[in-house]
Amino acid sequence: MLTKRIIACLDVRDGRVVKGVQFVDIVDAGDPAELAARHAREGADEIVLLDITATHEGRKTLLETVRRAAGELFVPFCVGGGIRSARDAEQVFDAGADKVSVNSAAIANPALIDDIGSSFGAQAVVVAIDARRDAAAADPVRDAQVLVAGGRKVTGRCVVEWAREAEQRGAGEILLTSMDADGTRAGFDCELTAAVSGAVSIPVIASGGAGTVAHFTDVFTRGRADAALAASIFHFGVSSARSLKEELAQAGIPVRLPC
């Protein structure tokens, strides 16, 4: 049976793992290569490394970080942050990533999805969408808005429509982050996740808001997520992917165990 994936996310800045609360407070949480290996050992089904430096100077550091993290990693490894061209993607693949995640750059230039997909295959392209419910709209979920620049800038694009376009252009997966829920540990936005998952045929990875095991159960059932991302829940020894998955299995969610 196809299992639900638990994906460990490392937010990296200047070669160190950090985690913000709603993208603001930054706390140093360690070395990316060590943490990636630890998460894989502790049962994570996949590792995502999101570089939040993404400056020109940070670029070389990122490739070196990817190379080190990929070295002993034998589960899928996705890298995002600052990828603006197929050439940028190629460098990250050469450093050992299996997938790249594109966000703002794909909004600015949607053909980027086609470019990377046609060179490296759809399975290698994850389109990350930062979403915020539109409280003023008649249907705040259906009309949720795409944000860029770390959640600071409104694009005027609708999340569900953008997810559909990304799929048509050859994205292999959608990484959907609720900016309302991110960092709160109060639960995923299940309604928004279900709306996007129902609108596309490619997998949707839910992100933002994980705090308890019940939140994951919720997003895999009510939220129709294919995978869920968690960062802060792991970093400080709150839980491991393995213990999380053991509890999910007891709740009837299919997961990869033993792992």
Binding site: L2, D98, F120, G121, P203
Partner: protein, 205 residues
């Protein structure tokens, strides 16, 4: 252990090379040098992407060289699209023939309630006689990402069920294929690659 990895420009080889090196093998990559294939000890054809990309194997003469190598008893492993290439063809690119070691044809998962592509970790139901999967138990998980698959047939070495059962692995003599990505499938995947590396021309048939 020397292993020849064929690059047909359909994606990224880094993960496969990394896993092979981790297991102590010395991979040698070629995209068109037929002499490398002529002296290969074992061959891996990785693959992500579209079946149509295998047209490059015909254009470069690699198809013929691989056919000869297989006839000489050289162990061959096709991964993902590399496995599908061992079949007569795929509905993904109906005009592009495969190697036809296996006479069946690959086709897309049927449309329905389930999502296509099939992406993620799914379990294997292993044939006990498989050499590629020796030491791997039924119920172990491996990583898939694909929309097309081979049917279950006489040379199926492992079955996985998504929508319906399909061939997760196939083997016949010195020819092996995995629809899943052993290089991305944790300890189980490394075990499978290790098994392949341990198969030699002498033990192959």
């Amino acid at each position: 252990m020397r292993v020849t990895v064929i690059d047909y420009k359909a994606g990224n080889l880094a993960s496969v090379l990394k896993a092979l090196r981790h297991l102590g093998a010395e991979p040698e990559v070629t995209d068109s040098d037929l002499s490398v294939i002529a002296r290969a000890e074992r061959i891996v054809l990785p693959g992500v992407g579209h079946f149509a990309a295998t047209a490059r194997l015909d254009a470069t003469g690699i198809t013929g060289a691989v056919r000869k190598a297989i006839a000489r008893g050289i162990p061959f492993l096709g991964i993902c699209v590399g496995m599908q290439w061992l079949f007569a063809g795929s509905t993904e690119a109906p005009d592009q023939p495969g190697l036809a070691t296996f006479s069946e044809c690959c086709a897309r998962f049927p449309e329905g309630a389930e999502k296509v592509p099939h992406v993620g970790w799914n379990s294997l139901d292993v044939s006990p006689s498989s050499r590629l999967l020796a030491g791997v138990s039924s119920g172990e998980f491996v990583y898939f990402t694909h929309s097309f698959r081979a049917p279950v047939f006489a040379n199926t070495a492992a079955t996985t069920t998504y929508i319906e059962p399909f061939s997760a692995a196939a083997e016949h003599g010195n020819v092996f294929g995995t629809q899943f990505h052993p290089e991305k499938s944790g300890a189980t995947g490394l075990r499978i690659l290790q098994n392949f590396l341990a198969i030699t021309r002498e033990t192959a048939c």
